[in-house]
């Protein structure tokens, strides 16, 4: 016989109240933990995907879009930039590593990203099997891609134009799978990696067939999205005239671009000469890692002011994004706190009821020789047992809830995104909940301290 045992027995005599207390407190703990874990996971996932990319350079437009499209591969690209310009930037002494990437096609919704060999190293991706890309039209699959598409080494596939899976605009060239990466939990898991030449070649071919000039087609790349959207909205009414119109528009832009290029020619004619071939090529963006923070201060401004390209800082853009998404998190947190207060009130009522209704039992224990402090401990232990059970319920609920959520919104981006919550955050929630319960217990035991056993025992019912 211990005080704990008496507390447990007390709890067992009021199953409904206990269930209610545990359930509602568990719910608030689950919400608090869940929201914290989602927040942590979301942030970690975003930042993890950055690899060590400090800056992205792409076509002018929304910097957030540039980051979302070229770093997180969630959005459509802003446009293309001349490869020659990108190469020039790469040679800046502040740059540690610059990886040009180019994309515009997909296979079953997974983006085919052409880049230099350094691309996998951004994400520390290692080959699980096969070898790396050696020549054009060879690809290495990210882990998720391999898993979902069931493609194996030696398999071939044809890519679709645009970034959304479609059967209408399919390129003729066949890609062959030469390798598969180990899972990295980063964005490369859901990408198909190839070299830049593959991307250029696929579009060159198409282009020849269609009888457009090479550059015009390359430009068409950044109109992909519109194509893709058209397809989605009405797959069968692909209007050729529309197409024409867009091409015209693209060419218009191209002309404009060309002037800009001409401008840079004058300044860096030597460079341009050395890479005359590259000059005509275009890429989607350039992922830059600096040698030191000085680069962060100097280069973005210079690029934005002096060139027709834009530089975006992924970390900065994502921080801005958190501020927006933070509102949602805050609302849910607020609801969780309100539920926590309500559950504390319910626990208080449950304990207070016990103290009042069972006052004769408590007085009887005093006659048995119990001290006031022992009675208080019995009540306090009841509170602790409820909190303990609620914590278990809360953790289970939050895990189950998040698991369900992550699986139900499997958009191909979810990966294994759940991060376990940091101990200090878990601890903070624990302290908060315990604080509330201690207040509830203190209020509930108040009558015990003023208890007059003689009066209670005289008023036998």
């Amino acid at each position: 016989m211990t005080l704990w045992k008496i507390s447990v027995k007390n709890i067992k005599t009021k199953p409904l109240y206990t269930f209610l207390s545990v359930f509602i407190l568990g719910l608030s703990i689950a919400l608090l933990l869940g929201i914290q874990q989602l927040k942590t996971s979301f942030k970690y996932q975003m930042e993890n995907n950055l690899g060590d990319i400090d800056m992205v350079v792409g076509a002018k437009g929304s910097p957030l879009q540039l980051v979302l499209s070229s770093v997180l591969h969630l959005d459509n690209p802003t446009g293309n930039i001349p490869y020659a310009e990108a190469k020039k930037l790469s040679r800046n002494p502040l740059v540690k590593r610059a990886v040009p990437i180019s994309y515009g096609d997909n296979y079953k919704g997974y983006r085919i990203v052409g880049a230099t060999d350094e691309f996998p190293t951004i994400y520390n991706a290692e080959l699980a099997e096969g070898r790396t890309v050696e020549k054009s039209l060879e690809v290495v699959l990210g882990h998720t891609v391999a898993e979902k598409t069931q493609l194996n080494i030696g398999d071939t596939f044809k890519s679709s134009h645009g970034l959304i899976d479609n059967d209408i605009d399919v390129h003729d060239d066949e890609f062959v799978v030469v390798g598969i990466y180990k899972p990295t939990l980063k964005v490369i898991d859901r990408l198909i990696f190839t070299n830049l030449e593959s991307i250029w070649n696929v579009h060159d071919h198409d282009h020849d067939e269609e009888g457009h000039s090479e550059e015009a087609h390359a430009h068409d790349d950044h109109e992909d999205d519109e194509h893709a959207h058209d397809h989605e909205e009405d797959k069968h009414s692909h209007d050729h005239e529309d197409d024409e119109h867009e091409h015209d528009h693209a060419e218009g832009e191209h002309d404009h671009d060309h002037e800009e290029k001409g401008h840079s020619h004058e300044e860096h004619s030597e460079d341009e000469h050395a890479h005359e071939h590259d000059e005509e090529k275009e890429i989607t963006s350039l992922l830059v890692t600096f040698r030191n923070p000085t680069g962060l201060l100097m280069m973005p401004r210079r690029i934005n002011e002096e060139t027709n390209m834009q530089a975006a800082l992924p970390k900065f853009e994502l921080d801005k994004l958190y501020e927006y998404t933070g509102v949602g998190f805050k609302t849910i947190s607020l609801i969780a706190y309100i539920i926590l207060v309500i559950s504390s009130i319910i626990i208080f009522i449950s304990l207070y009821k016990m103290v009042k209704e069972r006052s004769f039992d408590l007085a009887l224990m005093r006659v048995y020789g119990a001290k006031n402090s022992q009675l208080i401990r019995i009540i306090a232990y009841e509170g602790f047992i409820i909190v303990f059970l609620a914590f278990i319920v809360g953790v289970v609920l939050s895990k189950a809830g998040l698991y369900f959520m992550v699986n139900s919104v499997d958009s191909g981006n979810s990966q294994k995104i759940l991060q376990s919550i940091a101990f200090h955050e878990f601890f903070q929630i624990g302290i908060l909940v315990f604080g509330m319960i201690i207040v509830a217990v203190l209020l509930a035991i108040n009558p015990i301290t003023k208890m007059n056993i003689s009066t209670i025992l005289s008023n036998e019912k």
Partner: protein
């Protein structure tokens, strides 16, 4: 051994002061305190059991003046040396029969001797209800449990507050005999406080309030 000296008590709300006669009991001596309702019987019992503190006077049990003990020492003393049978024989509702007895021993800081508990329950005919919840017992069973709770810890004095008021003649006799027997086995004084004149013949020592 128990004795009282000049016990008085005053209820603030009622503006009424009770004065109680002195008495002294030797080892194994029993006492019947008879009195009408409202004359302060329960007040006297609470004073004797250390549940109330007297305005003046002393209660001395086994050479300890319980009126002079601090609150926590009084709790401990009461737990170890005093047994009380209440009018309606309450036991802790959330515990079973056997758990009540274990809790009784636990709070009086005595060794929990399950053999002794079983023995007592057998003697009082409660062994079959050992694991029942208190609220599943009949009135008679509850009363016997009340008696068991007042003696399990081998107290020095057993107080019984109106133990027979709701019983018929036959059961009245049985309960008084049971109380006397248990008190004797524990080597304790038995003090019965009641208005029930039927029990008068069972006691040689009587005080009228």
């Amino acid at each position: 051994m128990i004795q009282t000296e000049n016990l008085t008590f005053h209820y603030k709300q009622k503006e009424h002061t009770f004065q109680f006669p002195d008495f002294a009991l030797q080892e194994q001596e029993n006492l019947l305190i008879l009195g009408k309702s409202g004359i302060g019987k329960t007040t006297l019992l609470h004073l004797l059991a250390g549940l109330l503190s007297p305005v003046s006077g002393n209660v001395i049990i086994n050479d300890v003046n319980i009126s002079s003990l601090s609150a926590s020492k009084l709790d401990a003393f009461r737990g170890q040396n005093i047994g009380v049978v209440f009018q309606k024989n309450h036991a802790v509702q959330s515990l079973s029969v056997v758990e009540n007895l274990q809790a009784r021993l636990f709070f009086s800081k005595k060794k929990i001797d399950n053999t002794a508990i079983d023995h007592l329950l057998t003697e009082l005919g409660l062994i079959d209800y050992k694991n029942r919840k208190v609220n599943a017992l009949s009135e008679g069973q509850l009363q016997r449990l009340g008696i068991a709770l007042s003696v399990i810890h081998n107290p020095k004095v057993i107080f019984a507050d109106e133990p027979t008021s709701s019983l018929d003649d036959e059961n009245c006799k049985i309960v008084i005999e049971l109380l006397k027997r248990q008190a004797k086995q524990s080597n304790a004084n038995l003090i019965v406080i009641t208005h029930d004149h039927r029990v008068k013949s069972s006691f040689s020592n009587t005080i009228a309030l």
